[in-house]
Symmetry: D2
Subunit: 433 residues, 4 copies
Amino acid sequence: MQFEIKESDFHVEKLNEARIPSPMEGERFVDDEERILYATNVREMQSFISEGKTVPSFEQAGPRSKIYFDPSKLRCGIVTCGGLCPGINDVIRAIVLSLHYSYDVHTVWGFRYGLEGLAPSYKHEPLELTPRMVADFHQKGGSILGSSRGPQKIEEICDTLERMHIGILFAIGGDGTLRAVQAIVQEVKKRDLKISVVAVPKTIDNDIAFVDRSFGFMTAVSEAARVIYGAHSEATGARNGIGLVKLMGRHSGFIAAHATLANNDVNFCLIPEVPFSLPVFLDIIRERIHKRGHAVIVVAEGAGQDLIENAGGTDPSGNVRLGDIGTFLKDKITEDFSKHKLDLVLKYIDPSYIIRSLSANTDDSAFCLLLGHNAVHAAMSGRTDMVVGFWKNYYIHIPTSLAVSRRKEVSPDSRLWRDVLLCIGQPENLLEK
Amino acid sequence: MQFEIKESDFHVEKLNEARIPSPMEGERFVDDEERILYATNVREMQSFISEGKTVPSFEQAGPRSKIYFDPSKLRCGIVTCGGLCPGINDVIRAIVLSLHYSYDVHTVWGFRYGLEGLAPSYKHEPLELTPRMVADFHQKGGSILGSSRGPQKIEEICDTLERMHIGILFAIGGDGTLRAVQAIVQEVKKRDLKISVVAVPKTIDNDIAFVDRSFGFMTAVSEAARVIYGAHSEATGARNGIGLVKLMGRHSGFIAAHATLANNDVNFCLIPEVPFSLPVFLDIIRERIHKRGHAVIVVAEGAGQDLIENAGGTDPSGNVRLGDIGTFLKDKITEDFSKHKLDLVLKYIDPSYIIRSLSANTDDSAFCLLLGHNAVHAAMSGRTDMVVGFWKNYYIHIPTSLAVSRRKEVSPDSRLWRDVLLCIGQPENLLEK
Amino acid sequence: MQFEIKESDFHVEKLNEARIPSPMEGERFVDDEERILYATNVREMQSFISEGKTVPSFEQAGPRSKIYFDPSKLRCGIVTCGGLCPGINDVIRAIVLSLHYSYDVHTVWGFRYGLEGLAPSYKHEPLELTPRMVADFHQKGGSILGSSRGPQKIEEICDTLERMHIGILFAIGGDGTLRAVQAIVQEVKKRDLKISVVAVPKTIDNDIAFVDRSFGFMTAVSEAARVIYGAHSEATGARNGIGLVKLMGRHSGFIAAHATLANNDVNFCLIPEVPFSLPVFLDIIRERIHKRGHAVIVVAEGAGQDLIENAGGTDPSGNVRLGDIGTFLKDKITEDFSKHKLDLVLKYIDPSYIIRSLSANTDDSAFCLLLGHNAVHAAMSGRTDMVVGFWKNYYIHIPTSLAVSRRKEVSPDSRLWRDVLLCIGQPENLLEK
Amino acid sequence: MQFEIKESDFHVEKLNEARIPSPMEGERFVDDEERILYATNVREMQSFISEGKTVPSFEQAGPRSKIYFDPSKLRCGIVTCGGLCPGINDVIRAIVLSLHYSYDVHTVWGFRYGLEGLAPSYKHEPLELTPRMVADFHQKGGSILGSSRGPQKIEEICDTLERMHIGILFAIGGDGTLRAVQAIVQEVKKRDLKISVVAVPKTIDNDIAFVDRSFGFMTAVSEAARVIYGAHSEATGARNGIGLVKLMGRHSGFIAAHATLANNDVNFCLIPEVPFSLPVFLDIIRERIHKRGHAVIVVAEGAGQDLIENAGGTDPSGNVRLGDIGTFLKDKITEDFSKHKLDLVLKYIDPSYIIRSLSANTDDSAFCLLLGHNAVHAAMSGRTDMVVGFWKNYYIHIPTSLAVSRRKEVSPDSRLWRDVLLCIGQPENLLEK
């Protein structure tokens, strides 16, 4: 990432000074000076110091001794946007339980079907969320509230928040949602309201900047590895067998890379960050089949987009529509083998919805619990326009503007990618032979 | 099934009288008079009795006190044909272990890539299978030997069997394989050879006649239910959400029916045995979405073939190529909602290879173990031209001709189908409203 | 089983003639003449015929065209008794859904904590069970209603049934519960009430007579196999390693036998039905360790009770308290190795509660669904004093008296046990060398 | 941790200068100046800076451009010590594959049964490990090499290393093993040998200092959470039900704390780092049962050791023998309820070996792969007397002396413990009411 990092970018906004003592008796509160270093290695740190700059750092998340909102009067809302991702219900549940048990906040509305639920025209009745109702949410995949893609009029959303006397809006969503958060915050300011908007970033692709790991990602990698194992069985179960698996990853190949490391049967891993030449790749595949009789290929959905005529346009969330690299490769490999008069048994697997709709695994379940708790702590303290992140094993606060300023990617020079190449023996350069 | 059942159809062929004492000391052997009733209910039984016929019955499988083959000289072969199915490796393993430990037969060849492995032109070297090598086979999906579709020249196959001095050929495969077994047996007879051919029927669709359950089926149903659960999450996670899952079942809807019972989220189940009208179905779907906001549809791959223009032709195994009912329904529902100006979020899931490539679950693993053992017992006793089946909780012998004489189907009048309809509240008749 | 089987034992009692047309429109009803043969093999059948007796058969379960209870007035109750078993919640759910959707019966009370819930002195409020409430029950282990051991006064139970105007009581429980059912039926008759009592037999040990398979059993076997796999890792992970696993099975070794078949790592399987001599067994263990360096032993909790000084007495349900064969063997093997100056690393695993508390696997979940449905069909038709069973792949009705008349056991001569011995190479006779 | 941190403690020893070019063509190597900050927060960092000290940092792991050992002559050994932990076989496999494919080192000996395998008196033949042999190791629990507890004579170990011309010894083990590593390194120096000893720290308790996460830990937490779910079913399935689960954690409560967060059914979590008073705890349990009717208690095996009369002594590895807190609590709670004339249904679960013997989950599998690779990179570069660690998402080198200098614990003031208390509502202080 060649962006400049400024300390001021790490500053989290507050609605106002928090003056109300927290109702959490006996708690060891986090004070605002507890900050987590952005830099993780010596060189980075020294480059800041040598330039006379303060080393940037994140606010550590956690309960504060003083809160901004009066629990007895506070009403909160939760909205979930975009595609499914394991753990959404865990986060909803954690927010409701933390509000209820740690802060004595008892009115929490769940808006239905994403931002639609905040736009009066859709007439979706919000759901009142109680501890009893959310108790078993974490065992379910999907989103209990329902989700939708695409923006709604910011004015209407703010009208709804005002009309329902919402003090905090928790938004669980990706890129587009974070941008909606920014717009809502602007409109809230313009109207001089005291509404906090705090996001828990949802991206199964794990591509949010300044977030080491996003919820659902580990669950997705686990299931992806399981699917790859099946592709390997299909590939080895036939002469000249190829198992081709398309995994999630529109712009960042984290799922493909991690699933490749987690499963020891992958022979080729293609990700958006590392371009490849089709002829070179086809040659290598034929060689592999010639030598070993089978191959397992993992391709992230955003890989090789330069090779296919793109469907073009954008979806309702404003995401670019990707060309289907999976069926593209399937067709090209089939053609190529046919041209070379080679037998081929290619099995193509696209497990997308199977993975997205899973319930969170144990690890993600605990992770979502703490993301939700920390979102509540942050919002109760009056923070706004921020997302809850995870950095070097700490829960942190990230200003929304920083979180959307760039995308996290698998750098071809990173140890992650180098380790993938080493572990599967893939040539570094697939652009030329 | 409106076929006539004759007692003589149940007679299993033997190469010759078995005269060699079994090496299994102290075993309680099964004698040839232990037979399992074909009839399971009183009416069936009485209809035979009233007509003065002998009630048909199957030979019970199990070790015999006398065997035909001399273990010290015997060489065996194993071949796996057709598509993958959970448990193939378990069966291979069980055959090798039983030959080795129960009968002291130590030479077992694994032919590679289906019948290709028996056709010299492919030059696939057979693999010698030892107990040590197969020890952990049961933990793996796929087929360790590899598989292929399509027939090979029967003469070449028999040449190979002769050249390698194979006394028993174990064939693990479906319909096509059973027909190949019949042909090999004919050729073996013509050449006056003493080679036994015994099959373990492989059909993930569970559609072999006179076999209550085939291996891999329960594993397939389990995974199918898991996938349906995901489809339900997708359907409920969106407004006007539809989860559409295509499951295996070319001619018989057993997987779809059982997965529907095993999972409590299915709203509609379409199987090959029960025709439906597209306009009627589309109306019902729209009504359901209107009333409940979401729907989960399970469709067996062979359902509704009369509605789609068939790709036609046959695959290398001689199976009719099916039209893709999954994408057909997806397109038709999408069109229909668009025509009625209704929003729709349809997620289509086709988990086929993910399911086929699984390793067997516990239940199937034990089942495969005993199928393999019983195939060995049958073949060692000199039986040939038969398959090992499972009927009313007993392992049995079925003549190949009987097993291929008809296909097992989900009768629309059966309790199974009626229970499916009852449990999900699906209208009985989808042909007219 | 050396009991005499009489046709009259198979007769299921009815409260009275069923005259009300079933509300299930268009259903293909089961008529009372559809009966499933008790006999499964030719010899059995012929022995009845040759003695001039009618071949015994079970009534097939399923919806009847005429019902006895008026749905608009009917109130039902459900009670769960004894230890946990995977699938209890599935059965509760199925009963509620079937009553509601198939019969329009809307009042179903769940009694809390077993028969205690029917005894006024405990003051447990019954829970009203609605379709909405039970919707996700099947995903949970345990019993949503709670359970307890031990009988309560039959008069008090009947008082409660009368007071609450209960027409049908569904009882989910084991041996003790079936006897309670018989007693309640007697008292109901004495009072000339029209209350039906129908049981779904719950026995994780799978030891109910005339029931091929009881719910939860397959789930238990799966988990047991998983635990054995761990014992094998422990055994092979150490020099002279022994993995010793105690499994459920008070009087019948079905779980131990099936888990042994399902897992390929067991070397010795001890069950209640097959006695063994401790000195002989210890010798064999030492030999095995000497030759192979490790061993995996599976022991059913009821095995070897003659060898240990029994704790004696009975538990609140009237079950004999068993001596702890697991720790007994652990101690004896440890002593023996110490006496012979042999190193030993023995890991003892007792997974009982871990298994019992699981939620039902896919297979059991579908099975429980149909057990519940068929219990409802039976009771609605006016049948009483019966249990719903499963015989040769059919759901059937069994008179309670027949179900409690004997216990199902693993016969040492059965193919099941012979196959276990064959598959693991265990000597048949562990009483003498 | 109140230890002083000195920069010099972070210095990793090398046998000698590495002069041989790495055979890994085209790799982007890690240079020795790439170092990962020990400090993670601003305060820590500033305290070093303000004292004029260099901020301590770890060497980043990864392949070096220059290596010390000549691959064509190198022979390596692997040994696994102590109790089982998920992932051991993954690490073995990764080491073999990395040596073979990245460095062309083809002789790798696997020593059997821990350090015994290096002591000639035991006569354990070492196993030659090839890529083919280890290919599927990662799917197995346990240790393929076998393990043992306890030290062996250092001289004999070094004799064996010399005699077999071992250049690198990879040791997979815990505390005791790390100390053995130190002793071997001393003896190697004394003899002026050029043998590198590199450890991969194995501790299911996750209690190695300077290691954020050790392998097997996440798998253990997942399974622990599953077991707790069962305990919850048992507790809620009975009136006054208590589910009591003992988890691993001799000195550090990480598994108990994480499993509590991962599972939402725990009511009380007891760990070694936080003392409690038995009378206070019993009072709280009774209150909970009174109010809610059930309770789930998780206790780490090292908790409450001050309360029980300790068995005393040490095991062969030199670990203090712990008193059994699980059965102690079970007995005390039972007594207490009996004294107060309260009914109680307590189910005690001790899943230790079931957890330890699991195969690694996906997440741990990828983690072990990279631990193994990085151990190879480190050793090939001539580093010795070190362990491979994981710190803030980077693989790092830690001098053995630093790794054994202290134990990682759950600080009662840490966010981890505070979050546990918050999430389950456990009182902070269990020493007094």
